[in-house]
């Protein structure tokens, strides 16, 4: 038996190739849309990918099952449980095969046995992996978004991202039941999850690729509650805000997304700086500047938004997602290819093109903003020379905040600037100074005089300045 782990660190997404070396048949579990790595390994190993297996309808990345099926002829295996046809609405031309609980997918001597594990989603399947050539018991389980290292899948996405009322609590109860089934596995059984640290599909995922049933039984907090009610309360508590793009992912993954062979290739453009400003000013267009916070602060083309790469790009593109407008990126040319990959993996086929960072120099007008320390800002605040805006999430604000600050979570900022006065500078802060950089880029483009609070609320507290606590 052959097994290989793949990991896309931009989206914290794991996928797996398993193959029978005797027959050369291979399967990919939960493939991403950029399938080059699978093809490369299959080439090198002399495998033929005959199956691609999806644990559930993903919310956080474009599934690669249709891309793989179209380009290799592999059959798509998908859940039939939980909903009518598992919730899928495949194109008839695709070679699909529905799977029910306990069904087995065979690759030569290798077996993948389905286990219906609703909770994260109603149709969710885990797959036991059995190496029939040398063993009669499972070596491990591909758990998808059911069990993670140190966490379990969140049950509230359907409710929060798709709007199915009441589904969060129902999902949590299903998750409890699924976990009881799962706990019956022997301690030694490995866990191969669908995500790692940084994913928004859970709240506390570990940065370790694999675990075991026995280890999680001991140390995974979600395995500790023995009563359903306690578990449900535990699970629904403290789930992070789902990014806006999740809704789109749930939609496209029902049917499979546009084949990459039909997606035009985004190219470099080279308008002079003022041409870029004109483009950025178009209501149907978004121009994102991926340079560092510092570089953007000292000069940016009007109407461009700052999402620094690699630190904040993927996450905040997902949170501020827009699939309708045309998107252009300003970046270093050597970064274009990776940026395109990230956008395709989030289904942002509306990426129109790139500009080199050198366009900044050619613009006749650049915007800037200041970065100042908390104590400088506090002094101005006390003299009422500025207004303070806090762009953190509600739970962060609730815990403690700057007195008299205005609270507008970053994803809502662009739409709510009418709540601010144009007459005073805006001092904007978040927890560490990163989200407030994005906020600063939004605010200067609406004409505000902006100060980014250096080091954010962490620094504010470190300097022992006044706060309002919950």
């Amino acid at each position: 038996m052959y097994l290989k782990y793949f990991y896309d660190s931009s989206l914290a997404q794991a996928s797996y190739m398993v193959a029978c070396q005797a027959t050369g048949e291979a399967a990919v579990i939960d493939p991403a849309r950029n399938i080059e790595d699978y093809l490369k390994i299959a080439r090198e190993q002399g495998f033929h990918i005959v199956a691609t297996v999806e644990t559930h309808i993903h919310a956080d990345f474009v599934s690669g099952v249709t891309e793989l099926a179209r380009r290799t002829g592999a059959t798509i295996y998908h859940s039939l449980e939980g909903n009518e046809n598992g919730g899928y609405e495949w194109d008839n031309a695709l070679p699909v095969q529905g799977v029910r609980d306990q069904d087995i997918i065979r690759l030569g001597n290798v077996q993948l046995k389905a286990l219906h594990t609703p909770g994260h989603t109603p149709e969710h399947m885990a797959y036991e992996l059995i190496d029939g050539a040398t063993a009669d018991k499972p070596m491990g389980v591909f758990t998808g978004d059911f069990v993670f290292v140190g966490d379990v899948g969140r049950p509230d996405l359907l409710e929060k991202s798709v709007g199915v009322a009441g589904s969060a609590e129902e999902g949590a109860r299903q998750m409890f039941a699924s976990l009881q089934k799962f706990k019956k596995y022997a301690d030694y059984v490995q866990i191969w999850p669908g995500h790692g640290a940084g994913s928004a599909c859970g709240k506390a995922l570990g940065a370790v690729p694999t675990s075991t049933v026995g280890y999680e039984r001991l140390f995974n907090p979600a395995f500790q509650p023995t009563e359903e009610a306690a578990f449900v309360e535990f699970l629904l508590d403290g789930q992070p805000e789902p990014p806006a793009y999740f809704a789109k992912m749930k939609e496209v993954n029902k049917t499979g997304m546009t084949p990459l062979s039909k997606v035009p290739y985004s190219v470099e453009m080279q308008l002079a700086g003022d041409g870029v400003a004109e483009l950025a000013n178009d209501k149907q267009t978004i121009v994102i500047d991926t340079r560092s916070i510092q570089a953007f602060a000292t000069g940016s083309i009007p109407k461009t938004i700052n999402l620094p790469y690699p630190d904040m790009f993927a996450e905040w593109l997902g949170r501020l997602a827009d699939y309708e407008k045309s998107i252009y990126l300003i970046a270093e040319p050597y970064q274009f290819a990776h940026l395109r990959k990230i956008m395709l993996s989030m289904g942002m086929d509306n990426l129109q093109g790139f500009f080199s960072t050198s366009v900044i120099d050619s613009a006749s007008k650049l915007l800037t903003y200041e970065t100042q320390s908390p104590s400088e800002v506090d002094k101005k605040r006390k003299h009422d020379h500025i207004q303070v805006v806090d762009v953190r999430y509600t739970d962060e604000w609730d815990e403690a905040h700057i007195p008299n600050a205005k609270h507008i979570p970053l994803p809502e900022l662009a739409e709510r600037t009418d709540e601010l006065t144009p007459d005073k500078p805006v001092a904007v802060h978040c927890r560490s100074g990163k989200r407030s950089a994005i906020a600063s880029s939004i605010l200067i483009n609406q004409g505000f005089d902006v100060i980014n609070v250096k080091g954010g609320f962490i620094n504010w507290e470190n300097e022992n300045l006044e706060t309002t606590k919950a």
Copy 2:
């Protein structure tokens, strides 16, 4: 003044960037469709491309003027001479500017002065380059397909590729007149031509990038005839067969081709070998195997055609061009990007995808053919055990050929195999053994038992075997 030479060796095509360093304004003369190199230099030099200048409607590559205009905002300068609107039918949205004989395009201190030079085509313009900052006389002339190093543009393409009867001779006479105008330039004036050695836009282009009026006056054969009639005879004699794709190029370059941002990106596919065979068998599909002649001969997937890369790929793709069918290439993965570039530069947006050469191993059935020396073949020929097919061009055949051989020029072979008998092996030859390799791949796919004659007619003559001479 800044001047840079660009050269695409796949199509033997030259282009030029000229700029005024004082203002940063740049122009590209006769750009190719893959404009990355121009954008890179402009970025590095801090130039803004404001103009893109076309000498004439190109027959041998997709002009990049529309691509450049769309991605940089540059104005397209084109000829208004020779035909209504110079023969162009631009999309109204494009920023175009017509140019007449003696018009001047200005880039800061730099001037490009148009000179109407019909002959290769009726609308053809050459452009004098004057460095206004330091000189009042032209430093050189961008001659397009008018004057090459050691040659002049052929006048017969419109007749042969587009079917305008009588235009070859008329073009030759125009060329004579244009040359008389050109000869008035001072000896020191440089010549920056549109093509180098290997181009099918002339018959004897040199492999030297630049020349001068004085040098060509002395040594260019086309500058020697002083009478029109002698010149016309000289010029029309011995022009090579124009590749089939020229007709398509003339058509797309009138209007400008699809923007690259609308062309889907061709991807690797990984069907098992028999899947490739099935695809290759589809009438709407062409699968080209780009491996070496030797590798193909020892095992190829049925119905695939052999166009070895890099030696024969671009030229023969152009000669056997098909813009209607879907094209797939079998190649080494590291070659995919360059192969795609070549196909885009020839307008073959019908490239659907790539297969790695490793697919060959997975096919259940492979075709092969033999390679034998001329003397072995001659022995069989004398015993009437084989039929000999000569796939050279007519002028080569006329000069000398193997007695009783059948003459079918390679571009016609696929359609004329009914003239061969299926009962005897086919010994196929060309001049050196390269074209006959393509022919062999065509013939084995029609069920013939094939022998490729090693070293071709050159070897045949070297071995002093019998020939029929003109």
Copy 3:
């Protein structure tokens, strides 16, 4: 806690980075000499590599601990058990720290606890990994060459590669004792081994990256014997021939190898083909042709050896290893970088340079050999027209062979050709036709007329030809 798996498929070698995200301190366990990947991840994650941990003195690759220490300032942690200073003889300038059984290496909240596990080597350490932030029990064990997925480390290398008489059996007994200690771990504990399938450090390694104590307890054959004697017999039986380069590795890994910053960079050379032939003819030089078997068979430069890349290159370079002569490789230019990496990872700093495969065409004389089917060869054998040479290992020969064949294992072939007669062609075979291709390249260079038996002994048996069985 952060954990990442690294795998070098050329040498089937695994290494691991573990870090405490709270402090940014990272360690690399059993690093390879090419440390770029570790540096890249550390950069991306914002880690500082402060420790590099070696499980034992490696026999199959150049350890990267000294390279990492020199380039990051990390401390080298090494065993003090088994031998004086664990057998190491470090340069005094290196920051080293000896480790005894049960010692703990701390990285912020993360702990690596040493477990002395002799058997593969006397000094061998395994390291438990404890995530102190969330658990008080080990999550897994870095087992080095102690326990693999489906196998355990071989105990016979010191005897076979370094010549320590009697150490194989002693090692096997130590391995038995170490395994008893290891079996005390809970079932859920993960196993992160030093090698995967294809490594010569064991006999049956699985192609799965990780396992667990419980799973190996059930299915690993080496875990089954409960008596020492039976275990020793089991373990010593059927160990593959260790490659020749292992001896060199044991030597250099005691002290650490030359820093890469002192290794000259191998460059492309471009002698004409006959210059290459002259170089290959030099007794102090080896020229390896990495092209496919088929390409080499149809034409090779005299005195060059065929080690096809990627299939056979790394393994047979190791088996035919020579650290004294200058080595040149003939390869495709895009492969140069990877070939250099492989050679550096095996300590072959005697790589002098590369030739492009295009040099073949320029040689005035090329050698060739024939490939024929077993039945053709058998016919000739029966008529005594040829001599048959079997280049398989002794155990393969003992099981069954072609009657009257001569047995010379491939690693001995170059030195034993005087046992063959120059008067008859040599038909050479192995199991599948791969090793015999290398053998063919050796034999044609000693002037023999060579036939490679297509498909080897497998094919011979498939065609039901006569064999002599044990």
Copy 4:
């Protein structure tokens, strides 16, 4: 005949490959040390490089003739004129061939005919190129550093860089005589020079790759003086300061530099920021930070020098050259390869390694400096709150400068800071603000409080501030 132009824009250096297609023999004229591009073209064209021709002992880059000779077997053709053995002191093992005025180097039908053209250096040769297959007169001349487009080679380097007293004027007279010889060429003869715009081998080189005798006769200022005395005065006037590294180049190019196959490969290092600071503090070490001026100003590791890439790196590395100390570079990882190439082309084999720019973040202490407008600086100057330092060259200073400013040319700054007072901030300026950024990095490391004058003297004059004029 085949001719190809190569251009290294980092050093503004041109080289040429010429070949006879009939025989495949090729020569490279004035090759750079990084010979990959020549090898690649030779491979693609099927050429064998049999000759490498040097016009003179280069002062501004490491000649690649020995590298080419060692790696291809090519013969080195060098001048025997001007000095004993032309001034060369070749290693006996090299295949060299001396050339005298009017000697001819033959490559099949192609001829290179030597013309002794002293002036830039005593041994200088130009080479006429004659395409014997089609012409009996030269097509052009490889002029090396004799005639450039718009300029001629400077005659003062031996005096200024090597210290040969009186050689500048003698060189100028020789140059006059050489030009008279050169003017006899026909107007149409092409000029293929050794350098383009930006080279310090002349004072006014054009940014056009090629010219002609006739054009230069008309428009090249150096062709205008008809009297020797006037020419000498013209030529010696206004030559730029030669960079310090020229002296080293003259030395190494006499013998040929270390083969690249003996130069260790510089690798990435990953010390924490304070480790870098410690290294930078070492007297035997230089750490260069290649980030932008802006990024460096807002935070740099103590004792690191700022040479921004690509704008200022190569030029100022050459001007501040140090061949004795170990050099480390801080850069983006994707830039490492190009930076190494640049340093090798300048003979800086003392490049020890690279740090990623991410090390900056990990340093516990960072230095910063301010950037202020001329008017702000002028205000402080008038109140005597600062000292003003002008780091321009003497000729720039002489023309006009800020009243009471201190003049220290940048190359002398590091050694002359004891002329400044530590008690007042230093406002440093140059012409445009670029050189003063380097100066700022030098000054902050010597403990000064620094203000970089924004936009330099250009801006100062634009703001109509007070100046002292010559």
